[in-house]
């Protein structure tokens, strides 16, 4: 049985939901951030799979752009996370609820 594009899409969807679950479940800011990166990469997978399937090039280019964006997000995200946790030792996100109501 050949590997059709839907397999890839299903895999990407699985990865995406795993990433989303990661964001919701894990407490540590870094882990949450990593799961978001996971979600972005799963989207990359979708792009590439569909592009390969349809024989178009847009998907590949899109994947490239998404990678750049992910990189930018990494730099900024880590900077912010470092800035946050200069105030307290642990990287636990739940302590971070001073602004509410």
């Amino acid at each position: 049985m050949t590997v059709t594009v839907t397999w890839y899409l299903v895999l990407a969807a699985a990865l995406f939901s795993m990433g989303a679950a990661g964001v919701l479940i894990r407490r540590n800011a870094l882990i949450m951030f990593m799961s978001i990166e996971l979600m972005l990469n799963s989207v990359n997978l979708t792009f590439v799979a569909v592009s390969k399937h349809l024989g178009l090039i847009e998907g590949q280019v899109a994947a490239l752009f998404v990678m750049v964006i992910a990189a930018a997000e990494v730099t900024v995200g880590l900077a912010i996370i470092v800035a946050i946790f200069r105030f307290r030792s642990s990287a636990n996100v739940d302590e971070l609820s001073e602004l509410r109501g």
């Binding site: 490239l64 990678m67 990189a71 930018a72 470092v82 030792s89």
Partner: protein, 139 residues
């Protein structure tokens, strides 16, 4: 299902894993090991740590890592351009130059703002001493 085109990848992974496992095995087999409690205890006067130390690494490392990531991603786009620069022609070259210029310009700004100085504190202390030194000599 033609597996042939996946052969090289399979070989590569095998080689990698084999290398790592081999080195650990060899060191475990050949090295003498008679562990005694004192040996496992922390070095002479150290106290027993409650939990593994939180590696606190100075921010500097983080800064350099970030810059590396940015310029690494920049290279990706250069690969794209490098592959088909003939077809892009001068327009393509213009675009890439502008792209490079922007990044270089931000590098300049970051450099000017002192992100690349390594051990800033020590050098300032050194400069201050020298300045006072002069003062003493001058005095």
């Amino acid at each position: 299902m033609e597996l042939s085109d996946y052969l090289p990848i399979a070989l590569m992974t095998l080689l990698g894993i084999g290398f790592a496992v081999a080195s650990i095995l060899v060191s475990k087999l050949l090295a003498p090991s008679n562990p005694t409690p004192e040996k496992l205890a922390p070095y002479e006067c150290g106290i027993v740590p409650l939990q593994d130390p939180v590696e606190r690494f100075p921010v500097k490392f983080y800064l350099v890592a970030m810059l590396f990531v940015i310029f690494d991603v920049e290279i990706i786009f250069l690969f794209v351009w490098a592959v088909s620069y003939k077809e892009f022609g001068w327009a393509g070259l213009g675009a890439v130059v502008v792209f490079m210029l922007m990044l270089i310009e931000t590098l300049a700004y970051v450099w000017k703002r002192g992100a690349l100085e390594w051990n800033v504190a020590r050098r300032q202390r050194y400069r201050r001493i020298v300045a006072e030194g002069h003062l003493e000599e001058a005095a």
